[in-house]
Every structure is written in C-alpha cells, then in structure tokens.
Symmetry: C2
C-alpha cells in the first residue's frame, strides 16, 4: 500500500492536525496516522466519516491510490 497523500493534502487544506481530524471522526490519532501512511485498510464507515469531515468524496480520497 502506498501513502495516502490525497488525504494528507485534504487535511492540510482544512488546516487540521491528525489529532483534530481523529476527534472529528471519532477515531484515534494513531489510526489517522496509519491511514495516511498507507499501512492499512480502514473500514468504509471510517472512510466516509473522514470524507465528510474534509468535504471530499470516497472517490476523491480512497479510490485508486494505494491499489
């Protein structure tokens, strides 16, 4: 799996820290970090929550990035 740079960029665009995004979506900072690092395979529910928090869609953040 490759890094999820789109996520990192979208977060930067909203000027949010990993910790702030984590709180916004009800996850931990480590989980957000791991997702950005591309080290894993989050659930669709968490992906959706992240998308909504950042004003993006699934296709924009989680499609064909780490495949």
């Amino acid at each position: 799996m490759a890094k999820n740079l789109k996520l990192k960029a979208a977060r930067a665009e909203k000027d949010m820290t990993q910790a702030q995004l984590a709180e916004a979506v009800g996850a931990t900072r480590q989980t957000i970090n791991a997702i950005e690092k591309g080290e894993y395979n989050p659930t669709i529910r968490l992906c959706r929550a992240i998308c909504k928090a950042l004003g993006k869609t699934l296709d924009e953040l989680f499609w064909e990035d780490e495949g």
Copy 2:
C-alpha cells in the same frame, strides 16, 4: 444501516450471483450477503474489490446509502 440496494442492482446488472461476486473478490458469500443486507461495515479494500468486479466506483456503490 440500510440495505445496499445499489450493490444488489449492480450485481444483477452483471448477472452475477452473490457466490460468484464473492469468489471474484476473494470473500465469502455470507460476507457479500451481509453487506447487501446493510448489516455491516466492510473494509475499504473489499469495497474497492467489489467496485472493480462490478465496474463501478466507490461513490456509486458505497456513498450515502446507509448513512
């Protein structure tokens, strides 16, 4: 969570059974069944595999359906 009727429809459009889709994506029939039933929260990797097998995108099958 509501039923994922988009998934059911996309599968029908390809004339695939739950078992065939399951095999195509390396999952079990029960897992596909549960996802269609809306009873759970699959991983993004499985969602992507399903989308690819059915020629759809994440937004088409997994966005704002059960939210």
